[in-house]
């Protein structure tokens, strides 16, 4: 008798190699399924159980997941772009042109990176509006809202630093204007401006600093806070559901008790 795909997968899960990596073995009991989440370094950030209602589109519009999706696209397209891009003057502009007109699929990767970046900024704002208007930022989720604000800042800084890298007129003047805004900080504004650009004007040092920030420091910082953000969803009681909030539960119980009394 031929085995089904599920049986093959079960056999695979029973092997010593599989069990040495994933620890949990075969079986679809609640325990096994919970262990599969809990014992995976990536999945353990998430809750082992989620209410089906919370996975419906209307609950979240999937905005957080979509934001993560654009972030992953940005990492996956950004790393290949780094193979052809030199962060130097004036080579950066020529490399950008090469990526558009010479490199195979360069145009596709660059445009995917660019459009995903725009989409990510939009999705972060949409996600925050959705969380705000549902009241999902309230106790016990205040800290995760703060992490979210940090992630908003990371997103905007990633956008801003990436903007300079094509080294065209738009980039140059946008960063000139943007970095001059930093000069408006009281007392230390000029110093911040100088350290950010590595000089007095947008030049080779500024391009290199923005490149390092854009490709190393900011993405790693963002990933660090994304990990905390996801882990806190689990720690704060899973995705927000109005019906299971303590205040709502108490109010519903009180209403039910009052109804019961009237009935007597």
């Amino acid at each position: 008798m031929a085995k089904t795909v599920d049986q093959y997968l079960d056999d695979l899960r029973g092997t010593r190699v599989w069990r040495s990596i994933f620890r949990s073995g075969t079986g679809s009991s609640t325990l096994k399924r919970a262990l599969a989440i809990q014992q995976n370094v990536f999945l353990h950030l998430f809750s082992t159980k989620v209410r089906t209602r919370m996975l419906s589109f209307s609950a979240t519009w999937y905005l957080g997941t979509l934001t993560l999706g654009t972030f992953l696209i940005l990492v996956a397209t950004g790393i290949p772009l780094m193979f052809y891009y030199h962060p130097s003057v004036p080579q950066a502009y020529a490399d950008t042109k090469d990526l558009q007109f010479v490199v195979s699929s360069g145009l596709f990767l660059r445009n995917l990176h660019r459009w995903s970046a725009h989409a990510m900024v939009f999705l972060v704002f949409a996600h925050m509006f959705k969380v705000f208007y549902r009241g999902a930022y309230r106790t016990p989720r205040e800290f995760n809202w703060v992490i979210g604000v940090i992630l908003l800042l990371m997103t905007l800084l990633l956008s801003y630093t990436g903007y300079l890298l094509p080294w065209d007129q738009l980039a140059y003047w946008a960063i000139t204007v943007g970095s001059n805004i930093a000069s408006a900080v009281p007392v230390m504004g000029e110093k911040i401006h100088f350290l950010l650009l590595g000089g007095n004007a947008v030049n080779a040092n500024a391009l290199l600093r923005f490149y390092v920030l854009h490709c190393m420091i900011l993405p790693l910082t963002a990933m660090f806070f994304v990990a905390i953000h996801f882990w806190r969803i689990r720690k704060d009681g899973g995705l927000y559901s109005h019906d299971s909030e303590p205040a709502t539960v108490r109010a519903n119980a009180a209403a039910a008790a009052a109804n019961a009394k009237e009935g007597q």
């Binding site: 000139t176 970095s179 000089g199 040092n205």
Partner: protein, 161 residues
């Protein structure tokens, strides 16, 4: 015996090493911060010289306002003599342009407008365009020091040829 030790202000061995360890870490952290700041603050800059050679004065006819886009300055030949204005907008650093048809200097970014003395006419710019030090060198070329502001409209701020 144990009570006696608690009553005094002496630190025991564990507390001593804890404080020593935290203190050392604190000093190391402060040193790292100072090190990082010094490292990120460049000591040598490969930037263009602030002094610009604007060429012979007869390049600039009387009543003309001429921009040098590369160095970001205007050379203006007025009745009182030659003077130089920064072309960098005092709002957010965009390069302004002379509009002969309006007889004023205008910034393309956020619409600030200045007259040819650098005085603001309208827009978000918080300050007038600064005047720059200008002088003649031995070859008879006009030189402008972009790093030195001079007071506007005073006799010393002009060069007469």
């Amino acid at each position: 015996m144990a009570d006696e030790i608690k009553k005094t202000d002496d630190v025991n061995r564990r507390q001593f090493f804890l404080k020593l360890g935290l203190g050392s870490l604190g000093i190391a952290a402060a040193g790292t911060a100072a090190f990082a700041y010094q490292y990120l603050d460049p000591n040598v800059l490969y930037e263009p010289s602030p002094v610009v050679n604007a060429g012979k004065p007869d390049r600039y006819p009387l009543g003309s306002v001429t921009i040098d886009v590369n160095s970001g300055i205007y050379i203006i030949h007025s009745d009182e003599g030659y003077f130089s204005l920064s072309a960098v907008c005092t709002h957010l650093g965009c390069m302004t342009a002379w509009k002969p048809e309006l007889n004023m200097i205008a910034c393309p970014c956020h619409g600030s407008k200045f007259n040819e003395d650098g005085k603001k006419i309208e827009g978000p710019a918080p300050k007038p365009l600064p005047w720059k030090r200008i002088w003649l060198n031995d070859d008879g070329d006009l030189l402008v020091d972009r790093s030195t502001d001079v007071p506007p409209l005073v006799p010393d701020s002009y060069v007469r040829v």
